[in-house]
Point group: D2
């Protein structure tokens, strides 16, 4: 469900996770209510009702949330810290700052910028960084700054360094919109915010480069795309969203790439929306999408 | 999510709906916790956060639920009746009793019986009633009683009367598994339990008889099926589930019927499962499926 | 299957339809071969093998097709005219000229322009006409002329007259990319080329205005979109393509509109591609999509 | 498209494949027409229009086909053998003989038997062989012979030998309907007819045992099934059909197995239908499905 940011004034999102115990939902919802919060939506999940892990997402409205926030946080800490629960509280009216990294392919890039312009995504886009200059005019046409950081040669450290310096402190998450460079573990550490990638296959099938050619060679009847958080293990990060489309023997690997592009932009935009709405919670290497 | 009934010992499902007010979730979950219940899953929905309608489904585990039930019900009444909330409390370990009405087509009938046998549906099947004797052996092969109630002629009242007498007091809901007779309003009143139908089109397209022929004639590219609660207004009852399948110009209306049968049995089985699990809540002529 | 126009040099598409008779396929393919054509793809369909209607699409390569064309046409006429077959022969390397009419919503418009730019559609776009000026900069950014033809008031004849004058002789087909004005029968006659519309519902469900609100009110579980040729009977023209997406009770009619937009642009782009490739053949009010 | 066998009297299916050359379609269709055949459907595919491989499937009606067959075959040989084309001619009114091998899971087995009974599949079912006796009554209830061939222990050669002796000369193809034993290369050689398997994952993802558990562990958002021809390389044979269904984090691996069962039986039944209709042609390790 998408909602204009203006309608989210004084809405907060509370995420709690930790070891399940009786009464945790009642305690959290009572705390919210006691502090004048009106619960708009609540989702919870327990991976094992007998002593498993507990995950909860509560969106609530509280007049003058900003003023009430410090006190709420203090009470939440008192309630949740003793039992070792992790929790986060975000102001839903504050859009997340999203940087996009792209290469030559523009289908995912333009789709995100266009969805942002029509208010589908609760984000701001402070910058697009690309190792190719081809999309500069399009990006700037959307009123978004564009930085060209070439990435030729075997040693990517200088390019990565420039990118980190552009991103540092300016963004809340990064989207790799068909960015065709492998990022180092050091880069991920230095960036320090979540990085979302779109892989052009139905992972874990066709890991690595050239998945459409591999799919054609194997003779599969469906091709897909996978949006996932980036970790140091290439193509192994937690999956946020996937989808597929039917192909036929009469189509070539180039056709697969064109048809797959439609799935990629669709899957990536859903993953970005859900991340921006604090709907995605990690459970080990799996995601819970509330 | 399906779960074996044996695993649902001492599990209860509480459905609450009424006018939304701050604190209602906290009050209900606190009541459950105070009474020794451990919440296994919780879903809620508000159709308008400012003073709309509120719907909640809570599944909880409570040791010796049967013994605790009267006291729980009394407390729920004290909490919810003053504000005009409707509520129901069901024992998840007690399967609902499902009667099936069918005609000559057996795809939905056999699919339900087979899913029941492999423990996919938390129901018992006290009887199958059909206006044709063709499926008698198959039904009895599943260990289910079969009653043949012919329905020839314009006046269906005698047949309906026989069916009501078979059902009365013996079933919790009725499934029309491609039962090709229109049931009267009087019948629905006398039966007094929910009746679920499977319509062989994507309602509201192709209302009435012969939907596959109509679909072929109109040249649609997808055909579908709709499971809905039966009301006096034919094909207008609340929709529980729908799905579609792609067809091509090269297929005939008879092909549509064969391909549609796969969608029908799939859609109906999902609707039956969700109804049996108390997941479907009415909001006017719409359904909320938790 | 999409193919770059440069690869379609000397490729022709022959469409034949009429009353089926033994040997028609052999006669047509032999004629093509005798004239130096190498068949690249062949599709045929008979709606009734005993004396029904016959439809055939043959794509073939013939060196120096332009030079050979008059002679080929003469032979085709000798073969097909006596039996009353209709036929058309098009040069696949010549892109069709597509005009787009739009209003305020830009999702279908921009998607078509973007697909054209990345060579997915074998068309040229000589103009975009809109009754709102909002998309002018975007359209011109794609290097496409933009004409603003306001359409206020009850009498649309002046606006329609201006549009006809812009289109006359300049386009091979027209796409209504969420153009929110009803076109008169007189307009359709004067334009004289095929007009493709995208309707924001799964026709024939929710005919007319406001289909997403109607879908929300009826409580359907899937929403869809339909691309069809425009006829004088509103929402009744031959359907080219349809698709759907699942929605939930938790989404509003505004959410449906946003999610439906994704289906609309997808469905419309497929219909446009197939039309531009001469894949769509009319069989009464139905389409055959080869 | 399914068609009752009675309607397929005097219908033949001709499959031709080999190196593409100009005029091959015209030559084949002219031969059919010259011999009194009326072409009902024609599909062709060339994997590369310049000198690639050519595949053609022609279904035609010829009165008294059986009588005309030897002469037709002789002419086809004269036309096609010199250029090294492979071809086969089958009588569409003669159902293929299909054996089913199964284990404890009955969803694929019963679905095939039920589809056969309602005339959806143009096959006969001379036998079901299982390494478990559990399905015996169900199978015999469909009027089909059931043979129990236990397969315990590490050495499967005795069991395989018994199975080969049951199948030899009696069947045209074999379906592994969730048969949980790995068949040896020697078995495949001795059986000498095509063997179709249903794998419970979207191959090549999750090759090997326990794919649903693997899918749960990896956190994928869709699960699938794959029908493929069996070769000596486990899970590597040519794919005939695949499909997927969406799953959520709230479902367990056991839920995946139950939901996947619906996809498995659907995918397998489509693959069996297409194989029985001679629609599946091998192109190396890929299939062309006409």
């Amino acid at each position: 469900m998408t909602t204009a940011l203006s309608q989210l004034q004084d809405h907060a999102c509370l995420i709690v996770d930790g070891k399940d115990r009786p009464g945790i939902i009642a305690d959290v919802t009572a705390l919210v209510t006691r502090n004048g919060g009106n619960i708009v939506s609540l989702d919870q999940y327990t991976d094992d009702p007998s002593g498993g892990l507990f995950f909860q997402r509560v969106v609530f409205h509280r007049s003058e949330f900003s003023a009430a926030r410090p006190d709420l946080e203090s009470q939440l800490n008192d309630l949740l810290a003793p039992d070792g629960y992790r929790w986060s509280l975000t102001d839903q009216s504050v859009p997340k700052r999203m940087a996009i990294l792209s290469s030559k392919s523009d289908h995912c890039l333009l789709d995100l910028l266009w969805r942002h312009r029509r208010s589908e995504l609760p984000v701001t886009v402070p910058m697009v960084i690309s190792n190719h200059p081809t999309s500069a005019d399009d990006v700037r046409g959307f009123g978004v700054p564009f930085f060209h950081v070439p990435s030729a040669g075997a040693d990517k450290s200088a390019a990565e360094d420039r990118i980190v310096k552009l991103l540092a402190g300016n963004v809340d998450f990064v989207v790799l919109a068909r960015y065709m460079q492998i990022l180092s573990g050091e880069f991920l550490n230095r960036v320090g915010v979540p990085v979302i990638n779109i892989h052009h296959s139905f992972l874990p099938a066709f890991i690595g480069a050239g998945p459409y050619a591999k799919a054609k060679h194997r003779g599969v009847k469906l091709i897909g795309a996978t949006a996932h958080y980036v970790t140091e293990d290439l193509d192994e990060g937690p999956i946020i969203e996937q989808d597929v489309v039917r192909v036929s023997h009469a189509e070539t690997a180039a056709d697969y790439a064109r048809r797959g592009a439609d799935v990629e932009r669709q899957v990536l935009s859903r993953a970005v929306l859900w991340h921006a709405q604090d709907r995605v919670v990690l459970n080990g290497n799996q995601t819970i999408v509330f």
